[in-house]
Amino acid sequence: MRLTLAIHPIEELRFGEATRLDGTTLAIDQEELRRLLLADGGLESVDLEVVRPGERCRFGAVFDVVEPRAKEPADGADFPGILGPLRLAGRGTTHVLRGAAVSVIQDGSAFGRVIEMSGAAGEASPYSRLHHLVVVPHPRASLPRRALMRALRVASLKAAVYLAKAALGQEASTYEVYECGGPAESATPGVPRLAYIGQIHSFQMVAEPDEPIFYGSNTIGMAPAALHPNEWLDGAIVSSYFNLGVETYFYQNHPIINELYRWQEEGKVLLTGTVATMAASDNRDRERNSMIAAALAKWNLAADAVVLTKYGGGAPHADMGLTARYCEELGIRTVVQVSDMSTDRSAESALLFNYPEVDAIVNVGRGDTLQWVAPEVERVIAASAGAAASLASLERLTAGSVCGVTGQQGLSRLRSFVY
């Protein structure tokens, strides 16, 4: 399966008469986009703002960040199962506005992550180097949570696709090709066959009935699925409403999948596929998901070794450990990524599993131990005056509260050391 990303670099976003991509400048027709976002009826109004890299600007709380992308119409659907009809993602050509992002704000949030565009905190996040269209939806007051969150989700994806459609029919500046033959391909002797097992949801917080996570499904009742790596990159998966540092932008630009592809290009490894799995909320699902994920990696992907990541905090951590253990039992070598759980910072409390064979661990720390003095900002964007005031008065920012600094998708440069 072959995915071609047609890359259109963006150096400026601005509002204009008509939505049009002119070289590296994208003009956005605010009124047309607003009409599109209000058409579903969930939003009373929506504010749109353009933010430049390095601007002394802070915005939040971030609901999600999405890279503007649009499929060549004949090659599939945009966010299949959510926006478009169900078509297999990961094939054909997808147009990408590289350097741009649609960032959607929600009013208040349990985790309250922000995007910081300047200062040391900004520099630590790749998001500060992007041109953002910040979408501030104002949902109807009467909406129950389920409909409110759905409105934010649909708005975020619609806006991203709308922007990227301006690139259809235009020659891209570069083309990135993502191709792997999958498990049927035979590896050169000595070249390990690698796969990725990633959790895409945690049932610690039960997904809403119409919460789209995996091809539009909320994943409840779903068994782990073997996916082509390109499906992650091309809109099959979006972040769930409850997430600890997972944004759709880094599914589209998945650091681990990209890194595996890079090693494959160098001829050092063979990428045979991926497994999408879920952290459970009861023991039966936990065993079942862990067991099936490991079995898929073994019998369907014929992997020699896998990289595993979790989604969320404690229970996902334990489930990832169990999945790795089952992999090792089937003869698949494992490496897991943990964000450690040591509330007292003791190394002995950092892991929520204890399997001697699961001994290769990348530890991206806690995210609340490193902090910056919040840079002075000239502009704050939030969903309400109250939220704006509290963002403006922030004195310190922890690494974990700035989007793009920490996370579970492999982008983190944070590491915990044992002293």
Binding site: A124, A305, G314, A360, Y419
Partner: protein, 346 residues
């Protein structure tokens, strides 16, 4: 810099095992390895006092020895306290760890010691002290003392202490975050490649090894047994009377359920941030199954449901808390005549 040094009978020049019972002696100036230490600490450093005690005396009288050492260091106006190095000498290591910890705690001045990995003092004191890895061979005395001296200088001038590998001390087992050049994705793929191809790799965390806890013998006759419910789901009476924290709880509560057949949502709340608590809030029996166990009690399946259930929040609790909470709860239930518990986890 005024330094006080602690040595055992052997390094203090009293003699070998036959002097292991020797009571503490306080000498003016440096003794034995203390002379080399003084030299390695450099200009301005002076070992003003040396305390020497026999190993048996020391481990049998740890508190008295520690009190004496603290008093001597205080009177000497010590800036730095050094013990050993002790190499693999177990009793010496345990004593050195205890006196260093006491000096550090009571006087707030830096204390440094050295031991080999097998020395029991390492496990006892590595978390609180800087223990330089001395290896097992006394022949390395100069090298070990110079690492201890270098570490002491850094501690005295309050410089940042490097990693255990850089400075040569045993890791305290504490985590510290830093930014590194490589992303987690890069580290993951490098490590998985190494593991898959049989090359060496360095994990960023080492799993802790836990001693096994043997299971007690099974209950012979359940119909005569007193059963208690213990839960870490954070179910507490409305108002959370014991103020059990929803994350990293440091306490637990025991709540009366005598005469109650069914827990009602309006009487309880949940203090736990790790799961969707709506269902337990709606019906607390889902986490504290009083209804089901009462049924068993009536049918004679179990002898008696204990009159109190025990609850805490198990959300990301440091092991130090968990161990203490577990011991306290087990102790209390034992005293109350409970034969077995149903453990309900979140």
């Amino acid at each position: 810099m005024r330094v006080v040094h602690y040595l055992n009978q052997f390094f203090g020049g009293l003699g070998a095992e036959e002097f292991a019972g020797a009571t503490p002696e306080v000498r003016e100036g440096a003794v034995g390895p203390g002379r080399l230490l003084e030299q390695l600490l450099g200009e301005g450093a002076k070992v003003v006092k040396t305390v020497v005690a026999g190993d048996n005396y020391a481990v049998e009288n740890l508190d008295a020895l520690a009190a004496l050492v603290v008093k001597e260091v205080r009177e000497a106006g010590g800036d730095l306290f050094v013990a050993g190095p002790c190499f693999q000498a177990g009793r010496y290591g345990v004593a050195a760890g205890a006196v260093c910890a006491a000096v550090q705690r009571e006087l707030g001045i830096p204390a440094v010691t050295g031991m080999g990995l097998e020395n029991p003092g390492v496990d006892l004191y590595r978390r609180d002290l800087y223990i330089v890895d001395s290896g097992g061979s006394v022949a390395a005395m100069r090298e070990v003392l110079s690492r201890m001296a270098a570490l002491a200088h850094k501690l005295l001038s309050k410089q940042e202490i490097g990693s255990p590998a850089e400075e040569g001390y045993f890791a305290h087992g504490l985590l510290r975050d830093a930014f590194v050049d490589k992303t987690a994705a890069e580290r993951l793929v490098e490590m998985v490649y190494a593991k898959a191809t049989g090359a060496p790799y360095e994990s960023e965390l080492t799993p802790t090894v836990f001693p096994a806890i043997p299971a007690p013998p099974p209950i012979a006759d359940l119909s005569r047994a007193r059963i208690a419910i213990v839960t870490d789901t954070g179910v507490v009476p409305k108002g959370n009377p014991d103020k059990i924290a929803p994350i990293a709880a440091t306490n637990w509560g025991s709540y009366d359920i005598s005469g109650v057949d069914d827990l009602r949502g309006e009487d309880f709340e949940v203090s736990h941030r790790g799961y969707d608590t709506r269902y337990v809030t709606e019906d607390p029996d889902r986490a504290v199954p009083v209804d089901a166990l009462r049924e068993f009690e009536k049918q004679g399946v179990i002898g008696k449901l204990h009159d109190r259930f025990v609850s805490t929040s198990g959300m990301v609790n440091p092991l130090a808390n968990s161990r203490r909470l577990g011991r306290e709860i087990a102790q209390r239930l034992k005293e109350e005549g409970v034969d077995a518990v149903v453990l309900v986890s979140a």
